[in-house]
Assembly symmetry: C2
Homo-oligomer: 197 residues x 2
């Protein structure tokens, strides 16, 4: 069983890992087995608080990815322009070097733009304007931007902050966490709900 | 500013407080002020892990509700039939006595059924069969069951586990966390997403 490592910074967005982590760890659908170990990393391994006020004790710091790492997931939030975020760059470099999936959602995508990671792969994010604003000269990927909830290009998944379910789906597919049919059923269940409104 | 207290048990469902807590604490829509303090309570004030593996250090135990408490939110998960859950009954009693909003989602609703709280108020839950199975003789509220994502009846809000957004909406309305228009806009934004798929 391989590990998917999530990165949480202070004021992370509560909803952005909230579907993916359970599906990886305890199965995509009820009764299906979980296929991955999940760990949460935060700067210096110290507690962080979510936007909703949840105080999380991470499993580890940002030193390096686990030896058996299959995915690096950057959870959005309000600290992706702070020095905390700069400490995440070496992890992205390590993921690139080791051909590990990188998933980023919301402001974590803007962070990728600011560090020049979105210039040669299809992607989305919290609007093209925001990628331009955060990216400045480091972002030259406009032609590869797509106005969608989530975009997967090889080992990279990006999403806007309301694309938490589509982000989950694309990461689960990339990680082959279950059959495509089970991933689609899980998506529909969470998107539409048990009772249509 | 009043407090809304969330209860988390071990193996709580990551997604079920993930929209409500941020909206209460940091505003229903971007730029809108947060109207509530949010605290997370867990048995004996000890850490709990979510289904997704998030290790949470709660703000307090289950001794009593805050003096300024405006809402008690029972987050679903896999421990609502354990002795841990029994320790939550006095908090529900206190909420009843003090006319404080009680919100419950997923298995936390089944817990309410098992303790006889759903026999005189309209409600929903994780199917009527599940309420009957958990409730046994303590549950006589079948005629008040509604097949919907979330149901609000006065100071009680119930929802099935996929009704996390409708649950959020009904709790925000009950707590008057913002205007009805802002709550509706927030719901639509999170339900449909920034880009329609």
């Amino acid at each position: 069983m391989k590990t998917v490592q999530f990165v949480l910074l202070d004021r992370f967005a509560d909803w952005e890992a909230a579907f993916l982590a359970p599906a990886l760890r305890e199965g995509v659908m009820p009764g299906h087995p979980g296929k991955y170990r999940v760990t949460f990393a935060a700067p210096d391994g110290r507690p962080v608080r979510s936007i909703g006020g949840l105080r999380v004790q991470p499993d580890c710091g940002l030193e390096q990815l686990p030896a058996d790492c299959a995915g690096l997931i950057l959870v959005g939030g309000m600290s992706w322009q702070t020095p905390q975020a700069a400490a995440v760059v070496p992890l992205v470099e390590e993921a690139l070097r080791r051909s590990i999936l990188v998933g980023a959602i919301c402001n974590a995508v803007s962070f990728l733009a600011a560090h020049g990671y979105l210039n040669d792969r299809r992607h989305t994010g919290n609007t093209l304007d925001m990628l331009r604003a955060w990216g400045g000269a480091a972002y030259t990927g406009e032609r590869l931007y797509e106005e969608r909830q989530a975009v997967r290009d090889g080992l990279w998944v990006t999403a806007n902050g309301t694309g938490y379910l589509e982000f989950t789906r694309e990461c689960l597919l990339a990680l082959e966490a279950d059959t495509p049919e089970a991933v689609a059923a899980s998506y529909a269940f969470n998107k539409q709900g048990f009772c249509k409104e």
